[in-house]
Amino acid sequence: MSKIVRTVANQLILFVVIFGLYVIIQGHVTPGGGFQGGAIIASGAVLLIVASGSQEIKTWLRERRLSVVESSGALLFILLAFAGIGTVFFFNFLVGSRLFGGIPSVGPNPGDVWTGGVIPLMNLGVGLKVMAGLSAVVLALALFSGGEELEE
């Protein structure tokens, strides 16, 4: 693509990633969550690929590394699920502990990010997984499809 598109995309990717991380981290307080935030960040990867071409992205982003990130996100999710197995699989064992805040008061309240027990951590794991998975698929499609590279 042209220089204008590339410059704007390079500036814009920062805001896209920040907004995706916000949706992931605030998933247990506001609407959103791991899947949605990961999809937002993956759309940022699509923006970069469209703007600067897959051959340039290839030099610093490989879909093999993205697969590693995706698997580690899934492992984080499953390990957090197993951590509560003293009671039941997927037991929320961090609720009310001092590290992750108390229980929020019932009713309309501002919402504290540090509540929720293991739910934010699981959101983070799922967010990593979705982000890396969708980016890896898009990158592989762009790299391996064998189509003509978009120039100018």
Binding site: G27, H28, V29, T30, P31, G33, F35, E63, S67, E70, S71, A74, F77, I78, A81, F89, F90, N92, V95, G96, F100, G101, G102, I103, P104, V106, N109, G111, T115, G116, G117, V118, I119, M122, N123, V126, K129, V130, G133, L134, A136, V137, A140, L141, L143, F144, S145, G146
Partner: protein, 92 residues
């Protein structure tokens, strides 16, 4: 003939199960269950998250989310396998 009776017994069993399920179904329009009321009332104390949807997704119905993640993992793995294989075949 034996095969025919096997299929016939299967059909009879299916019809029996479907009719039985129809009889124990809740009447149309009745409040569905006590499960959602329980979750709405107790999600904030038990899961400590303001977003009850997130509490249901990651706490009460964690298995469902695990299945979703597995589906995504399988999709990504399959896509990468197919694309890499076709890429290598083109190169050689």
């Amino acid at each position: 003939m034996r095969q025919f009776f096997g299929w016939l017994s299967l059909v009879v069993l299916m019809v029996f199960l479907v009719i039985g399920a129809l009889f124990i179904m809740r009447p149309f329009g009745e409040p569905p269950s006590v499960m959602d009321d329980y979750i709405i009332d107790n999600a904030q104390e038990e899961a400590a998250s303001n977003n009850v949807v997130a509490a249901v997704l990651f706490d009460y119905r964690g298995f469902d989310t695990l299945g979703e993640a597995t589906v995504l993992f399988a999709a990504v793995t399959g896509a990468l396998l197919v694309l890499r294989a076709s890429h290598k075949k083109e190169e050689t």
